[in-house]
C-alpha cells in the first residue's frame, strides 16, 4: 500500500492569514510515507450531499509525528465548506511524485504566494535527511507582507530566509528572483504562480542550476485514472499528467 483512503480526525483548522487557513489532522499511515511535494485530495461535500462532487487537491504542508497539515486559501465552493469543517475530514493520499533531493549540494527553496504551502515540508524533510541549515536557502516572494503566513515556522527551523514583496512592505522591494544571487551550484525547488515559476526557471537556466517546479491543474481522480489533469509537455501535443507524472517536474520537461 502506498495510497490510503481515510477519515482523519481534525486537530485544528485555523486562520493563519487573510483567507488562509492551516488544517491539521491525524493520519499516521500518510505521515509515515509522505514525501515533500506530494498532495492529498479532500472531500469537501458534507455527508449526504452530492455537491461539490469532486475532491480538492492540497499539497502536504508539514508532517509532525502522526500529524499532517495543509495550508490553503479560501477561493471557492470547496474551500469555503472546508473552512467550516472541525471534526473529521475524508481524504486520499499521499498522491503524486514529490520533489527529488540531490545526493549532495545545496537546496534553494523558492516560493511565491501560497506556493509556500509544500515548501515548508520540503525544508522539514531536507533537514531530516541530513542537510545542514547552511546548505538550505529559503527565498519567499509575495505581493505584500501580510501574505507571509508561516515564515516564522521556517525561522524556527533555524533556516536562512530572504523575502521579497511587490510593494516593499517586507524584505526586498521587488521580485523573489532578484534574490537568487547565491554563489555556487544549487538545486532549486520552486512552487508559486505560473509567471513567478517561469521567471525562476529562466534564472536557473542562465545559472544552469537544476530547477524543479510544482504544478497545478484541475483534477478529478488524483491517481492517474481520468487523464484530466494534463499540462503541456515540452514538445507539442505531448501532455504530462500532474497527479501522476507530477506535481513536481523538471522545469525543462514542461511548458510553463
Amino acid at each position: 500500500m502506498n495510497q490510503f483512503l481515510t477519515k482523519a480526525q481534525i486537530i485544528e483548522n485555523v486562520e493563519v492569514g487573510p483567507k488562509i487557513l492551516r488544517l491539521t489532522f491525524e493520519a499516521e499511515e500518510i505521515a509515515e510515507i509522505a514525501k515533500s511535494g506530494q498532495f492529498v485530495m479532500l472531500k469537501t461535500a458534507t455527508e449526504s450531499s452530492d455537491d461539490p462532487i469532486l475532491r480538492r487537491p492540497f499539497s502536504i504542508h508539514r508532517v509532525d509525528g502522526k500529524r499532517v497539515s495543509i495550508l490553503y486559501k479560501v477561493v471557492g465552493r470547496g474551500t469555503t465548506i472546508l473552512a467550516k469543517q472541525q471534526d473529521e475530514i475524508d481524504l486520499v493520499g499521499p498522491l503524486g511524485n514529490g520533489f527529488f533531493f540531490p545526493a549532495e549540494g545545496s537546496l534553494a527553496i523558492v516560493g511565491g504566494g501560497l506556493g509556500i504551502a509544500p515548501l515548508l515540508f520540503v525544508a522539514q524533510q531536507a533537514l531530516r535527511q541530513g542537510y545542514k541549515e547552511k546548505d538550505i536557502q529559503i527565498l519567499l516572494g509575495a505581493r505584500t507582507s501580510a501574505e507571509f503566513p508561516v515564515v516564522d515556522d521556517f525561522r524556527q527551523m533555524g533556516l536562512k530566509i530572504r523575502t521579497a514583496t511587490d510593494d516593499g512592505s517586507a524584505g526586498h522591494h521587488g521580485l523573489v528572483t532578484e534574490l537568487m544571487d547565491m554563489k555556487g551550484n544549487w538545486t532549486v525547488l520552486t512552487c508559486g504562480p505560473a509567471p513567478m515559476m517561469r521567471a525562476v526557471a529562466k534564472k536557473c537556466e542562465e545559472k544552469n542550476w537544476e530547477c524543479q517546479v510544482s504544478l497545478e491543474s484541475t483534477m478529478a481522480c488524483g491517481m492517474g485514472a481520468c487523464l484530466g489533469c494534463a499540462v503541456q509537455g515540452n514538445v507539442k501535443h505531448e501532455y504530462k499528467h500532474v497527479c501522476k507524472d507530477g506535481p513536481v517536474f523538471q522545469a525543462s520537461d514542461v511548458c510553463l
Binding site: 472531500k43 469532486l54 491543474s217 484541475t218 481522480c221 485514472a225 481520468c226 501532455y239
Partner: protein
C-alpha cells in the same frame, strides 16, 4: 444461504454485476490500493484506438452541479502498447477484462476487434460509438441507427468475443439505436455514455474546456440514464448494462430493477476510490437481507402502477 451474484452477458460470465466504466478506472492498476480488483465483475479499460492519441489540450475537466464535464479527447496508449504493457498487468488480477475501443472509421473498429480477439485475457469488447465518423462529416456513429447497425454488423464479423455496443444518450429515441445494435449482432448494449454539455467562465468569457464542449457525467445524469435503461430493457432482448451516476448500492439496485443485467461505475470512482468494492458487498447484503436467491431476480423487477 449465500446469494448468487453471478450474471451472464451473452456467453460472458461475470462474478457479479459490478464493472468499472471506461475512462474512469485507468487500466485497473491505479485503484489496486483501494479495491480488491479480483472481486469485481469486470474491469473495462480506458478506450483504446489503433494508434496512440495525445488527447485534448487542457483544461480537460470542469466540475458542474453534482456532475462534471470531461473532454479528455480519448487520450490512450494505442493498441500496441496496451497489449504489450497494460494487458500483461491486467492478466494478473484474474478478473474479466473488457476492452473499450474507439475509431474514426468502421475499418478502425474492425481492425481493433480482429487484433484484440487473439489477445489472451480479453473477455469481451465494448464498442464506443459516441465518436465522430470522419467519413460521414463527423456525425457520431451512435446518433444514427443506420450507422449503429453498420458498425455493429462489421465488427461482429471480426470477432467471436462477446460484443457490447455502448450507446450515446444524445439521441431522440435510444431504443432505436439499441435495436439497430441488436439486429447488427451485438451480445449486449451498455448505456449511457456522457451527455454533451458546455460551461463558460464569465470572468474570461471563454468556455471552461479547451475543447469548448464536453461530456457530462455523475449523479446529475442518473435520472436520464435510468429512464433510458428502462426504455431500452423493454425494447431489446439482449442484456442491457446500466451506466450513469451510479455511486451507491441503492443506485445500482435502481438500475437492476429498471432492467439492467449489470452496471458500470464511472465518476463515482473519483469521489470514492473504494466505491466499486463497496457496491459489490452492498448488493450481496441487499440480496441476503431481502432473502433474494440471485441478483437476476432483481433485473427488471420494477413494479409499475396498473393501467
Amino acid at each position: 444461504m449465500k446469494p448468487k451474484l453471478e450474471v451472464e452477458i451473452g456467453n460472458l460470465r461475470l462474478k457479479n454485476p459490478v464493472m468499472t466504466a471506461s475512462g474512469t478506472f485507468g487500466y485497473g492498476r491505479e485503484y489496486e490500493d483501494f479495491v480488491d480488483l479480483q472481486g469485481l465483475g469486470a474491469i473495462i479499460v480506458k478506450g483504446i484506438s489503433l494508434e496512440p492519441r495525445p488527447g485534448n489540450p487542457p483544461p480537460r475537466i470542469v466540475e458542474t452541479s453534482c456532475g462534471m464535464l470531461n473532454a479528455i479527447g480519448l487520450e490512450n496508449v494505442g493498441l500496441k502498447r496496451f497489449v504489450e504493457e497494460k494487458m500483461v498487468v491486467l492478466r494478473r488480477y484474474r478478473t474479466s477484462v473488457i476492452v473499450n475501443i474507439l475509431g474514426d472509421t468502421i475499418e478502425d473498429y474492425c481492425h481493433l476487434c480482429e487484433q484484440l480477439s487473439d489477445v489472451d485475457g480479453v473477455s469481451a469488447i465494448e464498442v464506443n460509438i459516441s465518436c465522430p465518423n470522419v467519413k460521414k462529416g463527423g456525425v457520431a456513429f451512435g446518433t444514427d441507427a443506420k450507422m449503429v447497425n453498420e458498425v455493429t454488423g462489421a465488427v461482429r464479423e471480426k470477432t467471436d468475443l462477446p460484443l457490447i455496443i455502448k450507446l450515446s444518450p444524445n439521441v431522440t429515441d435510444i431504443t432505436l439505436m439499441a435495436r439497430a445494435a441488436e439486429e447488427g449482432g451485438a451480445d449486449a448494449v451498455s448505456l449511457i455514455n456522457t451527455l454533451l454539455g458546455l460551461a463558460i467562465d464569465v470572468k474570461t468569457r471563454k468556455p471552461k474546456l479547451a475543447n469548448v464542449v464536453g461530456g457530462l457525467s455523475g449523479p446529475a445524469i442518473k435520472p436520464v440514464a435510468l429512464r433510458m435503461v428502462w426504455q431500452t430493457a423493454n425494447a431489446v432482448s439482449v442484456p442491457v448494462i446500466g451506466i450513469g451516476g451510479i455511486g451507491s448500492t441503492r443506485d445500482a439496485i435502481e438500475f437492476l430493477l429498471a432492467g439492467a443485467s449489470a452496471i458500470q461505475i464511472g465518476t463515482a470512482n473519483f469521489i470514492n476510490p473504494a466505491v466499486t468494492g463497496e457496491i459489490v458487498a452492498g448488493i450481496h447484503d441487499y440480496l441476503r437481507d431481502n432473502d433474494i436467491k440471485s441478483v437476476s431476480e432483481l433485473v427488471g423487477a420494477v413494479i409499475l402502477p396498473e393501467g
